[in-house]
Symmetry: C2
């Protein structure tokens, strides 16, 4: 029932040369409308699908791009994949999603394998692979186009899409300051992730502008996951002068802060304000829902894919973020010093 039909079958069916079918397939000029129609009809009739393998072998583009990622939060990856996939789907491009381990010394070779074996036309790098030296170097050596989503370093070297993490953190911090908070805790993200530094920078900038002294004790290391949020929150709330608000630099850690507060019977937001970052569905799923920064992850991914497919010069695109007010932040109570 299912002998796959080849370009030759189509040619025969349409009464033209194989080459002509190929021309139609690739949208070449110099094919009469009439012929084109007949060929297309034949393709439809035979349910013809060009073999990617054959195409690649004969030196043409593969019409495939790869998304390389390392384990971030499920939410993040879900959105990133979705963005890339939507764009690819629209353009009839196949997407290969390829996880790697940025700490694996062999990661460069893995990428080389991916590229040489699959002949992808281009690559999308998502954080934190965006700043993985071995991968960057290999890609450069392989001379294959790629776009980075939210890169942390060497911004100018390659095409990229990103949001203004520093400004977003600044916005959120300012939001907390405006609510009357002065002792604002901050939970950093994973070191691998460059945006972590940017967010910290924005936090400090907002503090400075408001004339609030920076206190290192109020900043704790986190790793972007729930458990590290819990640990950091405990440390912060154990301080002799605990913060009245905690800004976790992503939602997962924000959820960790909420858990600690619940555990200690500290009411959020009346006794402690909590802010997250990313606007993942998690921020709406916890209680109280987190005030957070909307990071347009799917849109970033989609834009990156678009830039990659369009090709051309190095392009940079900044997408806007947005502060989402929910119930986890409230004005500082007067009775709390």
């Amino acid at each position: 029932m299912s002998e796959r039909s080849t370009i030759r079958d189509v040619a025969a069916h349409a009464g033209v040369a194989v080459k002509t079918v190929s021309r139609v397939l690739n949208g070449h000029p110099y094919v009469s409308a009439d012929t084109r129609d007949r060929v297309e009809a034949a393709m439809k009739a035979l349910d013809f699908r060009p073999s990617v393998a054959a195409r690649i072998l004969s030196g043409a583009k593969s019409n495939q791009v790869a998304l390389i990622y390392d384990n971030h939060s499920p939410y993040y990856m879900f959105q990133i994949q979705k963005g890339c996939w939507d764009e690819c789907h629209e353009r009839g491009i196949r997407l290969l999603a390829q996880p790697v381990d940025v700490d694996d010394p062999d990661v460069g070779e893995q990428v080389r394998g991916l590229v040489t074996e699959t002949h992808v036309d281009g690559i999308i790098l998502s954080s934190p692979v965006t700043d993985c030296e071995p991968v960057l170097k290999m890609l450069d050596q392989l001379d294959i186009p790629f776009v980075r989503i939210s890169p942390g370093t060497n911004h100018a070297l390659t095409s990229s899409v990103f949001m203004d993490d520093a400004q977003a953190a600044d916005d959120m911090t300012t939001h907390l300051i405006n609510a009357g908070h002065r002792r604002i805790g901050f939970i950093k993200g994973h070191k691998n992730h460059m945006a972590s530094e940017d967010r910290l920078f924005g936090y400090r900038r907002a503090l400075d502008r408001a004339g609030i002294g920076f206190e290192p004790r109020l900043v704790r290391e986190g790793e972007f996951d729930f458990d590290s949020g819990v640990r950091a929150a405990r440390q912060l709330l154990d301080l002799p002068q605990p913060p009245t608000a905690i800004f976790a630099s992503n939602d997962d850690m924000g959820a960790g802060v909420l858990a600690v507060a619940h555990d200690r019977d500290i009411d959020v937001p009346s006794e402690l304000s909590v802010a997250g970052f990313d606007d993942t569905t998690l921020s709406r799923t916890v209680w109280p829902p987190l005030t957070t920064i909307h990071q347009p992850m799917a849109e970033l991914a989609r834009t990156a894919t678009e830039i990659l497919i369009n090709g051309g010069d190095i392009t940079h695109r900044r997408l806007p973020h947005q502060l989402i007010e929910r119930a986890s932040v409230a004005p500082l109570r007067r009775d709390i010093p």
Copy 2:
């Protein structure tokens, strides 16, 4: 710098015939250990990667398998992808993750495109694509091996891996009954998802066994997402005789129940017990952490992949579930009727 080396280069470098290299590559018998070593050394030295395209084209296996999925929760997909990927990685197989829309009338054609274009050797179907007729039919027609993860129908027809959803729901319901609860609310999952019915069945069976009458009012429709959990919980708690425990058939909906409880100042678990299902990270992220059923998603995916790659006869494998006790369930308070 990066002229890709071919099988001929390797042959020359190792001082053997191309055919011999091919033999090594494909693990044929009748190659001496000595020769094999030399060839492998040459491959390493030249950083040779066989072109998948050329391989496919000449009729060999592609060493690629595809995972077809439709948008489930990010957690679910994350785990499923991880399971498949880990197994593939170990075996040196490439994994193509391919989202589809099960409600798209064209879904069969999409799958055909995937198969004929990429020449994958086999396919893994994750819920709810496992029960998508057009896809099943197409795969059958294409005569390509596939394995289903947690299929709902026609269990016997194809290889599959699954857990005992009915028994798991039975276990949880019994757990609640043992805690003294008699009015136990149940929130169903999405209709597309066959496991929904199984879980409801288990719930009823446990009730029956305990001699507790089934009350249709205590069962509400949900769609496996947070918002539907919220809606269902509101309905249940608005009942003149509200349940003292609510069993949501996944964690997201369980989180919805918690949110409603928080909102209404109903203490969990002292005033209301809540149970989830799946043991996603979400269940540990909310407050209080959810008592839930551990569904071994990554393990299911990994096993499915293993079965697919090993080939052979139709195989079925049931993986064990586990009831995870956390803080959201407590014995019924005596003062609550």
